[in-house]
Every structure is written in structure tokens, then in C-alpha cells.
């Protein structure tokens, strides 16, 4: 089993939707009865390509309507592309190969597959029947997953009585009961509180490390992506504008950090200029900007000097602002 061969390969993927515009107003509605509105084409995915290796945990990032969910839908076989090549574990997703369906899974944050009025266990038993999981495997998986997610008490709880976080835990359990090798997560933490988000993230990280399951995650929350993925694919307006390690992204687009020094008394600017590049100078506050590698040295120099330093603050432009800037001004 060569680890180099990508488990997911996408080439020249294209998808567009036809959209009919409906205008408001009584008159326009009347018009619509006799002259149905024209359809305009909207390109959701234009020429996307990437390769993912087994065990990778990749994040898809992008604004609403960028094409993340559409791409995942094509990878899971729900949607047919207009053109392009997709291979997951050697299968073409939309050919509905039962073998493929038994080996992958998808969790959609806003859509639930659990039965509302019944205890979660019933929905799990349904998936057991659908995926033909043996009794031993099923019991072992339930034990393992409920422990990892701290969800033992949820098995007999009715889904409609669960909080959003509890529901998402059960949603995930239901989706991976059959031990999929590939997992797609579409906005899994949407609407969850901070604690629930952390629980889900911790679980996903552990799960990926232990089982080497290949995971693609889309999310609005940078926190999800930053904490879980080393590699990130940024999609905007249907095109990939960055595909690579997060660390490299940060290095490339935010190479500098800032140190803010609060002084007890005024110090001559000239004296401070020796330490590093000053981008802001006030009576009692100086802001230095230096490349990341040099930040430690600068901090050490400042602190060991005889400057009347009251407080020191090291900051870096948040990854959020980096990415925001990428979307605003492009690369």
C-alpha cells in the first residue's frame, strides 16, 4: 500500500447552477404567471483540482457560496459535476458504488439524519442495519465512540430533547459507526457553544490520529480549521486560491510580529531605533515590527536593557485577518 498515492484526487472539476430570479411585488408576480422568469447561470465550482493523501486532515475554508459544500457534495456522490474527474479510494462517487458508500461517510451540520422522536440508539440501530454491521462490531463501536465523546447517557435520550451539542455528538456517532476510511464534515460545529465545539474538535483530532481516517472539514469557524488541520484549501468564488500548509500561509502572508512596549517615562526615539523597526511611536508606547524569527531576540534585548519598561505585549496579526485580507485583496 503506497502511501504516496492520493486517496482523493480531483481534476478540472466544474459545476454551475441555473438560477431563476424572482422579483418582489404584486405586479411582478402577475408577470411571472405569464412570462416565467429567465434563468441565469451561476458558477459554483470552476476548475478545481487537488490531491489528498490517506490520513490527512484537510480544511476547506471560504466565504458563503464559495463552493465548499458543492465540492463536498460531488465528492460524496450527491451531486453530479458538469465536467471533471473525481476519484475517492479509486471510486467515482456519483456512480453509486455500494462498496464506496460503505467506506465513506458525510456529516452535514445543518441537516440531521437522526429520528427526532426516538432515542438516539434507535437511529444507530438503523445505520447498523443499513451498513450491515455485525453485532460485535456494532457494540464495540458504540462503546468506543460513546466513551470518546462522553455520550453514554445520550443513547437512551430522545433526540428532540437534546441540546445542539448533544445532537451533533450523536450525529457524528451515527455517521462513523461503519468505520469509514474517508469522512466529510460540512460545518459540523455550526451553532454550537464553545464547550461543545471544543468537545467535537478534540474528538475529531483524536479520531484522525488514532484511525488515520482521511478527513475533509469545511467550516466558517477559523478555530475549527486552525486547531484540526495542518493543510488548508481556501476556496473563493468557485476557485482554489490557496492549497497548502497553514504554517506556510502564515509565514508567507504574515511574516512579521509586533511588540508593543509600554514605558514608564519618555525615551528618545533614536535610542529605541537601535532595537528594531518602529511602526508606532507615542509618549509612553512604542510598537516594533520584526520578522517572526527575530521576535524572541528583540524581546530579550528589550527586557535586559535599561529601558523603563512597564509592560510588554507580543501580538501577531490573527490568522483571521490574514485570511480576511486574502479575500479582500486576493493573493
Amino acid at each position: 500500500m503506497r502511501d504516496n498515492k492520493p486517496i482523493i484526487e480531483v481534476k478540472n472539476l466544474k459545476k454551475s447552477f441555473k438560477h431563476s430570479k424572482r422579483e418582489a411585488g404584486l405586479r411582478n408576480t402577475l408577470k411571472n404567471i405569464f412570462h416565467p422568469a429567465k434563468k441565469t447561470k451561476k458558477f459554483a465550482v470552476r476548475d478545481i483540482a487537488f490531491k489528498i493523501r490517506k490520513g490527512e486532515f484537510v480544511g476547506f475554508l471560504g466565504p458563503n457560496g464559495a463552493g465548499k459544500t458543492t465540492t463536498l457534495k460531488m465528492l460524496s456522490g450527491i451531486t453530479y459535476p458538469d465536467s471533471g474527474f473525481v476519484s475517492v479510494m479509486g471510486f467515482t462517487p456519483w456512480e453509486k458504488n455500494i462498496e464506496y458508500q460503505k467506506r465513506f461517510s458525510m456529516v452535514m451540520g445543518q441537516k440531521s439524519q437522526l429520528w427526532w422522536d426516538l432515542p438516539a440508539m434507535e437511529s444507530f440501530l438503523l445505520n447498523k442495519a443499513i451498513y450491515e454491521i455485525s453485532n460485535e462490531d456494532f457494540n464495540a463501536r458504540i462503546k468506543e465512540l460513546t466513551e470518546l465523546l462522553e455520550a453514554k447517557n445520550l443513547l437512551d435520550k430522545q433526540v428532540r430533547q437534546m441540546s445542539l451539542g448533544e445532537r451533533m455528538k450523536c450525529e457524528i456517532i451515527a455517521s462513523i459507526l461503519h468505520n469509514p476510511e474517508v469522512l466529510f464534515l460540512d460545518e459540523p460545529t455550526i451553532g454550537l457553544d464553545v464547550v461543545a465545539q471544543k468537545n467535537i474538535r478534540d474528538f475529531l483530532r483524536q479520531y484522525n490520529e488514532q484511525k488515520k481516517t482521511t478527513i475533509i472539514l469545511t467550516s466558517h469557524y477559523m478555530g475549527d480549521i486552525l486547531k484540526l488541520c495542518k493543510r488548508i484549501i481556501i476556496i473563493d468564488k468557485g476557485k482554489i486560491i490557496y492549497d497548502g500548509l497553514i504554517s506556510k500561509l502564515i509565514e508567507k502572508y504574515a511574516p512579521n510580529k509586533t511588540i508593543t512596549v509600554y514605558l514608564d517615562q519618555e525615551v528618545e526615539r533614536k535610542k529605541l531605533e537601535n532595537f528594531g523597526r518602529i511602526i508606532q511611536f507615542d509618549e509612553a508606547k512604542v510598537v516594533f515590527e520584526v520578522p517572526r524569527k527575530k521576535i524572541k531576540k528583540l524581546a530579550a534585548d528589550l527586557l535586559s536593557s535599561d529601558l523603563p519598561i512597564k509592560d510588554i505585549d507580543i501580538a501577531e496579526p490573527g490568522i483571521e485577518s490574514i485570511i480576511r485580507n486574502i479575500f479582500k485583496s486576493g493573493l
Binding site: F17, T79, I98, S105, W115, D117, L126, I130
Partner: protein, 272 residues
């Protein structure tokens, strides 16, 4: 090859059964509502009987059918409708799944989506329809003064006719509900379904116009849903009818599946 086909069939049967169990348990969990629904459905059945009774309190026969013979038709309608409501929820799950996006979750499962959507909804309270139908059937038969061997012998064939009738009603429901892929709101489809099928409460012989009768026998074959099964007790076993019953059931099942697959393909190439 045979073994794997059997295994697949068994797998599908199990999945269907599990989904039905889920559906029934969920529905019965609202106890008061469930009891009221049973009452409501039973009452609807009683209403139909009242209607037939009232009409026959003034006349002796309608289009050659006596009161008890007409009850045979009504009973067959109740049994078939009850079965399709109970087992398949008249395919009402389709429009809900499309509208709320749940269909996507089903498409990624390693089971034919048609099976899943067929099982997804099941109104348990409609078992009372089946029971009412059986009660009316027994009542009607007992009043027709038929010899016992005749009843027993023909009951077997009656059962076959009913199976075909359920297949036809199922295919009809599937065909109509598949249109939910193109229409925004789905309520109207159920309405059409119900109204067309309710025509089968009466013997198709009431349609003295030949063209209309042909339409309701072969184009929209409601005749095979209730009138033809009933005729086995009112007129006796007819082999041609049995063959036609199988042929029509098979044809409509095939057509409705083709339409469903077509709609599904369209849905998937258009996307969300």
C-alpha cells in the same frame, strides 16, 4: 448469483422492517394524538359506509351492484389504501426529504434510495383502515350467502388481487410524489392522489361511458384496486382478470420506478 440476489433481498427486507419499526414507535409516542388518529381514520371509514348505506336505503342496486356487493368494493378500497398508508405513508416522505434536505443523507447510503424513501414514512394509525376494511369485507361476504368452499377458494385469489392492487396504488403514489422534485409545495400532490383513489370506492361499472371506463381501468387503473378484487366474490374467479391484474401491476411498478430514477438523476445533476 442467486445467493447474492437472495442476500440483497433479505438485507433490504431487514432495512425496511427496521425503518418501519422506527416510524411506528415514533408515531405511537404521542399517545393521545395516536388514539385520536385511530378514531379519526376509523370514523372516516364509517362515513363511507354510512354514505353507501344511505344511498342504498333508497335504491336496490347501482349499475348492477347490490348493497353488499358494493360494500365489497368499498372494503377492498379500504384495505388497499390502508396498506399503502401504513407501509409507505403514501410516499409522503419524498416531499419532506427534498424540502428539508434530508434526501442527501439517504443518497449516500449503500441501500437503494427508493426503498428508503418508501419506508421512511408510515402512518401506523392506518392499520385501522385495514381492519375496518376486513370487517366490512367479512360483513359483506357473510350477507351474500355464498357457499363456504367458494369463499375459501376465492380468498386466496382475492389476496393476490389485493397484492397487485397495493403495488398499483404504491406505484401511483410514487409517480405523483416524484413530481415533488419539480414543484415547490407538495400538499397538492397528496390531494390529487387521494381524490383519484377515492373514485375507487365505487364499482367502475358506474361509468356508463365506455371511454371513461377504459381510462379508469387501464390508464389510471383504479378498477384493479377495488372493483376487480371485489368481483371475485360477486362474480367468481376470472383467470383473465388475474393475468391482467399482474400485468398492470408489473407495468405500473416498472414505469414509476423509471420515473423516480429519472427524477433522481435530474436532482443530482442540478444539485442543491
Amino acid at each position: 448469483m442467486k445467493a447474492s440476489a437472495f442476500r440483497k433481498f433479505w438485507h433490504y427486507f431487514k432495512v425496511f422492517f427496521v425503518i418501519k419499526k422506527l416510524g411506528f414507535t415514533g408515531r405511537a409516542s404521542y399517545r393521545l394524538n395516536f388514539l385520536l388518529l385511530i378514531f379519526a381514520v376509523s370514523f372516516q371509514m364509517i362515513l363511507s359506509v354510512i354514505f353507501v348505506r344511505t344511498v342504498f336505503s333508497f335504491v336496490k342496486e347501482i349499475a348492477g351492484w347490490s348493497y353488499f356487493e358494493s360494500l365489497l368494493v368499498l372494503a377492498s378500497y379500504m384495505i388497499v389504501e390502508g396498506a399503502v398508508w401504513m407501509l409507505f405513508g403514501q410516499m409522503g416522505a419524498i416531499k419532506d426529504l427534498i424540502r428539508r434536505g434530508g434526501l442527501d443523507s439517504l443518497l449516500i447510503k449503500p441501500v437503494d434510495a427508493q426503498l428508503l424513501v418508501s419506508a421512511w414514512r408510515g402512518d401506523l394509525e392506518d392499520v385501522s383502515r385495514v381492519f375496518s376494511g376486513l370487517a366490512v369485507l367479512i360483513y359483506a361476504i357473510s350477507n351474500l350467502n355464498l357457499p363456504l368452499e367458494f369463499i375459501l377458494f376465492n380468498s386466496v385469489f382475492y389476496f393476490l388481487f389485493i397484492l397487485n392492487a397495493v403495488a398499483i396504488a404504491y406505484s401511483f403514489a410514487l409517480f405523483l410524489q416524484t413530481m415533488s422534485f419539480w414543484l415547490i409545495k407538495g400538499h397538492s400532490l397528496t390531494m390529487i392522489q387521494d381524490s383519484i383513489l377515492s373514485v375507487s370506492k365505487f364499482p367502475t361499472d358506474i361509468f356508463f361511458n365506455k371511454i371513461v371506463r377504459f381510462v379508469f381501468t387501464f390508464a389510471v387503473p383504479i378498477a384493479f384496486i377495488s372493483t376487480v378484487p371485489a368481483k371475485i366474490f360477486s362474480e367468481g374467479f376470472n383467470f383473465i382478470f388475474l393475468l391482467e391484474s399482474f400485468a398492470v401491476a408489473g407495468l405500473f411498478f416498472w414505469l414509476s420506478r423509471k420515473f423516480w430514477l429519472f427524477a433522481l438523476r435530474k436532482y443530482q445533476s442540478v444539485g442543491g
